[in-house]
């Protein structure tokens, strides 16, 4: 199904970019660009949310299809509106002088009751138009459904878990069924690889959407819905939650971050390292103590909060409390994925903070962690960034004030508790601890 011919210039651009394995360049033809741009007129934001500005082959297919549909619809639109305007001009009669009468008696147009041939004609015509659209639709539908089997894939799949009001991403880099990386709100992807997602939820229905990369897929508790995503280019692509999910539905963002393959591999290696305890006596260590007392009942830091008494690591802790969203059949087949009941369903599900400093945002993607957001930081941990300390501390001290939640709901906590009792020093230390963590195996 070819809707347009690719432009030759684009291949040039493609070859000039050597590093990424498959750099994506939007290949819109001229006419479509005009239509698209005119729609975008006056209102292109700094943030990259528009469906008409695709950054992946899938999104571009969707966009092109829509533009063709809109063109076809435009023709019908012009015909119908034109007909109304033409008739209003051509067949209009002046109002009679006498208000009590609508028409002068003698003026009658020809009384036509209908025309069967015409009727059959304009029943068949839209049927044919629809059949054509249906043909291409099915083509596109099954094309998108057919995810190519890539043997060298970096990521087997990512389980996307929506919850009130943030996203968790569990990366399965191999086939062992145990997540290798658990992170929040930022889905870091190697550029040019089609990634299989399974989208689910821990509480209510959410919807996963990165508009520049692909359409959306609902995160329904109790179901894994398959989906695919591909970052065509390096960059950070935001997306909102699009299924109404309560108070902070508007404040539940996530980002797909495209990294060139080598950088992504470096990122993935870092993310798999556990944290090590800070040296005693430092501010970081004081922060760890605060964390252990106040935060560790919900938040996990791999290597620190997940030790049993004998020093072995609790694998379960890695996933905070994955569970309610799982397929019931999987619950028992996959030991690490636990089935957890209602109390934990609504309380305690909190982002894994092991690699917080490697992320660009916090609090469900709504605050920048650093003052100079930059994709580079995913590799070079916090080296360049100036911490957005004020926002982070405000969040820690009184999260519900920063973002509406239901931490005090009578039916179970949803969202982060305010910690207004913490002293300023405690908060400072906590921030030091979280943003200066060191990891096993790092030099």
């Amino acid at each position: 199904m070819k809707l347009h011919t690719p432009q030759p210039e684009t291949t040039e651009v493609e070859s000039s970019q050597a590093t990424p394995p498959r750099r994506f360049v939007s290949r819109r033809n001229g006419l479509l660009t005009v239509v698209g741009l005119s729609l975008l007129l006056a209102g292109c934001g700094d943030r990259h949310l528009s469906t008409m500005d695709p950054e992946s082959p899938i999104a571009e297919k969707l966009d092109n299809f829509l533009v063709w549909l809109l063109l076809a619809a435009g023709v019908i639109f012009v015909l119908v509106q034109g007909a109304i305007l033409y008739m209003a001009k051509q067949f209009r009669v002046k109002a009679p002088e006498d208000e009590s009468q609508v028409y002068p008696d003698e003026e009658f147009p020809e009384q036509i009751h209908g025309n069967t041939r015409l009727e059959i004609g304009w029943t068949i015509l839209p049927t044919v138009i629809m059949a054509v659209i249906a043909f291409f639709t099915l083509g596109l539908l099954f094309e998108l459904d057919d995810v190519s089997a890539n043997e060298d894939r970096q990521i087997q799949e990512v389980v996307v878990v929506g919850q009130q009001w943030w996203w968790e991403f569990q990366y399965h880099l191999d086939d062992d069924g145990i997540p290798d990386i658990v992170t929040a709100n930022e889905l870091v992807l190697p550029v040019g690889e089609e990634i299989r997602l399974r989208v689910t939820s821990r509480d209510v229905i959410h919807s996963f959407w990165i508009p520049t990369l692909n359409g959306k897929r609902d995160a329904v508790p109790g179901r894994y819905s398959p989906w695919t995503i591909e970052a065509g280019n390096a960059g950070r692509f935001p997306g909102e939650c699009t299924e109404f999910c309560g108070f902070s539905h508007a404040y539940m963002e996530k980002f797909a971050v495209g990294l060139p393959l080598d950088e992504w591999q470096e990122w993935a290696a870092t993310q798999q390292r556990d944290a090590v305890l800070p040296t005693e006596g430092t501010a970081e260590f004081a922060g760890w103590e605060v964390f252990n007392n106040q935060c560790a009942s919900c938040h996990v830091i791999n290597g620190l909060t997940s030790h049993y008494e004998d020093g072995s690591i609790d694998d379960f802790a890695l996933y905070s409390n994955v569970g309610v969203g799982d397929d019931l059949a999987d619950v028992l087949n996959q030991p690490p994925v636990r089935y957890i009941d209602k109390q934990t369903q609504v309380a305690g599900a909190a982002p894994n903070l092991t690699h917080l400093q490697s992320r660009s945002t916090f609090a469900g993607g709504i605050f920048e962690l650093y003052k100079n957001p930059d994709a580079e930081r995913y590799i070079d941990l916090a080296s360049e960034g100036t911490l957005n300390r004020g926002a982070l501390e405000a969040w820690i001290v009184n999260a519900p004030e920063q973002k509406a939640n239901a931490w005090d709901s009578p039916s179970g906590q949803r969202g982060m508790t305010p910690f207004t009792a913490l002293s300023a020093e405690d908060v400072d230390n906590l921030v030091e601890f979280l943003t200066n963590l060191e990891y096993e195996g790092a030099e």
């Binding site: 729609l39 975008l40 209102g43 292109c44 934001g45 949310l49 469906t51 008409m52 297919k61 969707l62 299809f65 829509l66 549909l69 619809a73 639109f77 119908v80 007909a83 109304i84 008739m87 209003a88 067949f91 209009r92 009590s100 009468q101 609508v102 003026e107 009658f108 147009p109 009384q111 036509i112 009751h113 209908g114 025309n115 009727e119 839209p126 639709t137 539908l141 998108l144 989208v199 509480d203 209510v204 229905i205 919807s207 692909n214 359409g215 959306k216 609902d218 329904v220 508790p221 909102e240 939650c241 109404f244 999910c245 309560g246 108070f247 369903q345 609504v346 509406a404 039916s411 179970g412």
Partner: protein, 668 residues
Amino acid sequence: MAITEDRPLALEAGAVTKVAARPLGALTRPQSDVGWASWFTTVDHKKIGIMYGVGSLFFFLFGGVEALMIRIQLAAPDGQFLSESLYNQVFTMHGVTMVFLVIMPMAAAFANYLLPLQVGARDVAFPRLNAFSFWCWLAGAIFLNTSWFLGGAPAGGWFAYAPNTSVTFAPGSGMDFYAIGLQIVGIASLVSAINLIVTVLNMRAPGMSLLKMPVLTWMLLVTQFLLLFAVPVITIALFLLTFDRSFGANFFNVEQGGSPLLWQHLFWIFGHPEVYILILPAFGIISEVIPTFSRKPIFGYPFMVGSGIAIGFMGWGVWAHHMFVSGVGEISVAAFSLSTMFIAVPTGVKILNWLATMWGGRLRFNTPMLFACGVIAMFTIGGLSGVTHAVAPSDTQQTDTYYIVAHFHYVIFGGSLLGMFSGFYFWWPKVFGYKLSEKWGKINFWLMLIGFNMTFGPMHVLGLQGMARRHQSYAKEDGFGFWNGIVSAGAFVIAFGTLAFLINIWLSARSAKRNPVEVGPDPWDARSLEWSTASPTPVHNFDVEPTVEFQDDWWHRKWGENEEGKIVRKAYPADIAQDGSATDVHLPSPSYWPLVLSLSLPVIGYSVIYTFWLMIPAGALFLAGFLGWALEPADDPEAAHGHADHGHDDDHDADASADAADEGASVG
């Protein structure tokens, strides 16, 4: 207008009437059909229709204010006008109000007032059930809105997706009000649907075969059938929700294996026919208006009727297009994608037939015609954007964005509501005996049309730019500020348009009072039977039951063809119309019981939410209403009855045989 009947206060002797005279020994049967009190006991389909109209307009203002609040909040980035919690309540109630408390009852207003007139009947088949429907709807509507003062309105969206509506995630009582309030409104719709179906099928004037019925009658009939089959499905969905919330059932409890998608399926199996329930009455209205103001018969009447029926049938096979991103499986998505596309065909046929009706006609753009043309133009846009999300892959980008918001407002505001306004202007003289001002009508139309397009046109762009629905605010960097500013300005233009309508009513009523102008039975040279009786419609509708020979029979009484095939006048409306002077017409008598019975329902609702002790007054009201109703004959037995065979109980006035058992089944 009033034909005051000389009803004897003393009833005839005999076992039947002895039981009936004072059912509970407390209240005498209301007699008067004039005065303000009569509105509470009336069973006259016209008064009930007017009350539906007034009620729906009241809630239209209510829902409109909610819409304005949303638009103030979103007018600029980082809006501070409404808190998250309040915003969620406001948009939920905006949707619920506009669908269940505005468009549906507004269509019911036209259905109640016009269906009996268009088929040439004296009243609906079951006048007291009709009154019950109205009071039940009003009780449900008020019940729903009392939630604002009782701990917060529902905040789960009008679609109320589980499990966001469970006690865990919606601990307040808002969703209880939603579930029970809609249940009560649903009872009203179901009862009304059955009543109107029986009316149309059974009470047509002699000679009016199904294919001679006006298109409006047809579309309303299809609508009632859709309601008949759709309401029980939402009834079950709402019951499951209430059982979950109030009695600890597990239907939407994921922890126990409950399925959130079950709610979606049940809701949309109701919800998609509901869309056609909203739009078909408007299609019917403009199918009456356009021929009248084009001076031509409707083009392709059988195709108009057929496409309406086709839409009614196909409307049942498309519900899952609301669930393209829910993960229902590729085969379902493909199937529902196709069925959704092909429902565009009968809709397209309708649009082409309206255009063909206008083609070559002698068009006069009075306000009703302006609104009717507005419907064709705006609904076409809604239909076209509808096709873009019938394409399932494309829909994954559009669903739950403002593109969808734009789409369904073009359909429901641009289609249904403009159609209803067309109907208001068209039938106003028939109902009230004076026309609404053309000048203000045009102001009303243009303000609404321009405001409407300012409001909902840019939403297409916003949606494609990635603005998601139901977000309490957006950031400056999102770049949505410019178009949202225009959208919010447009919302206020619509508000001014609505204001113009109210001013129009006020000014026109005042001028009609000061210097009454005789509008005559048929001010627009229209085509169907309601124009063959006096304006305003006399209480008994027709002095004599009309006989029907043709489709558009009234028009054929006024006009004929001479030898050259030229159309010539046979008679003037004033000469052949019925003047409403008959005095011996037997009419169904007013009754308290529909009101009493319907009042018990919200009390039952409060009882489920708060305390079971309330079941005592609720039960008392219910029993009083039910028994009073059952023991009271549908009519006062009366000598003025037109014909002798009184024992024949399937009389068109729904005699006393509308007894306890049968009617009980439909309300119990």
